[in-house]
């Protein structure tokens, strides 16, 4: 199968909802996992698998496939759910997630199941790996594109900037980075942009501060993020990462960009689609309880 160009935005929305239901169900079932950053990237992944990517779930190693390389390897609920919906394996397998002997490991493992491009779980490694794929494609005269999904945390690891510099240097025009910019990471808020300062009592100090609940505000400000990519030689776009039309438009534009790599910074909401998870650092790496699952599924019903 090449990409399913015919899928409408309405259909994409309903697929995305199904994927979100999978995400909350499989993490609840595993009683662990990372729903927050999975939910924030659902529109990105859905757009890719149902509108942008060229691939064949029956032939996951097809050399001419477009690559979707997920650097934020903890976002397995998103990865596996989308792949199941795209036909790589049965949806039932999602319930083996994180189980001993199960097919779906906590963090991604390269080609397990086939179609997962990269072993990840350590942040910062995806863009280098993607550049390798991009250079191989050029060397072999193949016309595939390489899409690399990065998180806030990925953009704090130096390796990402090593790879960014090298990608521009090698004019890897078949390489496209996508930043899932949800402004929340493990310890809390990356910056003050999405930080709801309930009491407003503490000054916005550089270096941030630790909140009463143990989360941190302003862990590491990435702004001006687009300027960073530009200065590293990338063509940039900055969009709403939950707007299908914007995502598809940006990715198609990136594909036609020549002379160097390009990045799409997607503003997203961590935990998107589930009211009590939205913009809540608690659900970076915590599964919903049975009651919370029920509530989430209610909110995500068709």
């Amino acid at each position: 199968m090449a990409r399913a160009q015919t899928v409408s935005v309405d259909e994409l929305k309903s697929i995305a909802k199904r994927i979100r239901r999978h995400i909350v169900q499989m993490t609840a079932n595993a009683n662990s996992g990372h729903p927050g950053g999975s939910l924030s990237s659902v529109e990105i992944a859905t757009s890719l698998y149902f509108r942008v990517l060229r691939y064949d779930p029956q032939n996951p190693l097809w050399p001419d496939r477009d690559r979707f390389i997920v650097s934020k390897g903890h976002a397995t609920p998103m990865v596996y759910s989308t792949m199941a919906e795209a036909g790589y394996f049965p949806v039932e397998d999602l319930m083996t997630f994180r189980k001993l002997g199960g097919k779906l490991q906590g963090h991604t493992i390269m080609q397990k199941p086939p179609g997962v491009e990269m072993s990840a779980g350590a942040l910062g490694m995806g863009l280098s790996f993607s550049l390798g794929h991009a250079l191989a494609g050029r060397l072999d005269g193949r016309d595939y594109h390489v899409f690399c999904l990065l998180s806030d945390g990925d953009c704090q690891e130096g390796q990402t900037w090593e790879a960014a510099m090298a990608s521009a240097h090698h004019r890897a025009e078949n390489l496209i980075a996508i930043v899932d910019r949800n402004h929340i990471q493990n310890d809390g808020f990356s910056d003050y942009q999405r930080f709801p300062d309930g009491n407003g009592s503490r000054p916005q100090r550089p270096g941030g501060w630790v909140l009463k609940d143990g989360h941190t505000a302003n862990i590491m400000n990435l702004e001006p993020l687009e300027d960073k990519w530009k200065a590293f030689g990338w063509s940039t776009q900055h969009i709403d990462g939950h707007d299908f039309e914007a995502i598809i438009r940006a990715l198609e534009a990136a594909k036609t960009h020549t002379g160097g790599p390009s990045v799409v910074v997607c503003e997203t909401i961590k935990g998107k689609g589930v009211s009590f998870m939205e913009n809540n650092p608690d659900f970076h790496g915590k599964a919903p309880s049975p009651e919370q699952l029920e509530q989430a599924l209610k909110e995500l019903a068709d």
Partner: protein, 318 residues
Amino acid sequence: MVRTARSEATRTALGPTLVRLCREGLDIVCIDADLGYSTSAVKFGQEFPERFFPVGVAEQNMIGVSAGLAACGKIAFCSSFAVFAPGHCFDQLRMAVGQPQTNVKLVASHGGVVTGEDGASAEAIEDLALMLSIPTFRVIFPADVVEAEQAIETAARTEGPFYMRTLRPKTPVIYDDSGYRFQLGRWDRLRDGSDVTLIACGELVKAALDAAEILAGEGIATRVLNASSLRPIDREALLGAARETGAIVTAEDHFVHGGLSGLVAETLAEENPVPLAFIGMRDRYGTSGTWEELLEYFGLTPQAIAEAARGVMSRKSQ
């Protein structure tokens, strides 16, 4: 031997202990690479915000910043997961801490396959080998939360580089109300015996104690040593065990090569080569599962230790 029913994750010792020590006047700072919520370092940040430095997900920078603070007289504690520090910043640990011997203490949680559900990438089973390959680092792997707290205090009060591994899950507390005091280079003899010695570290100390119980039922008098201090090792206890029991089993949630097993094998080979058996990880990585399942799955159990003890005893020279 003191055993209680209480369980507690050793990682929870970090933040509260640092708060206490800083209140007592130690010039502690804490550098955090976006895992302070998980390593409990944020507890220190809540009390001493001006002494708490988040650097984002950037372990290399974390070590370098820590070394710089240490060079200015601070006691620099940093923390992460044991797969990322040392793994992601080994050269920085070697160059900015190990060689110049700056006063940096790395406390890395989520060691071992017991990290569990995240799977292979998240389960550090080489961190001790890495840290033992920087000779100026003291390397500690406490058996429980009580010992963890004591070891953190020792690290804070002892000049120079320290690495300490803590764990994610709630593991049994061994030293509650025991009056035990952690000492660098001392392996606590938790149980005495002259037929065989079990030397374990971390959560497998409890497994070794349980193995000794099994063996006791078979009339085997088993010595159990807690090798929490991996550098310096307790040469006296080790050589004594070889001499007095003639056969040793090591047990660690870590690769056999380069870990506790390696230390024991290397030391005895040059001094008194007795039969050894190693319980640990060998040629493969971990996988997803609950921590108890994984201990079973990889044979890091009292039963496996007991079986190894029987085997190694049968190889004793008469």
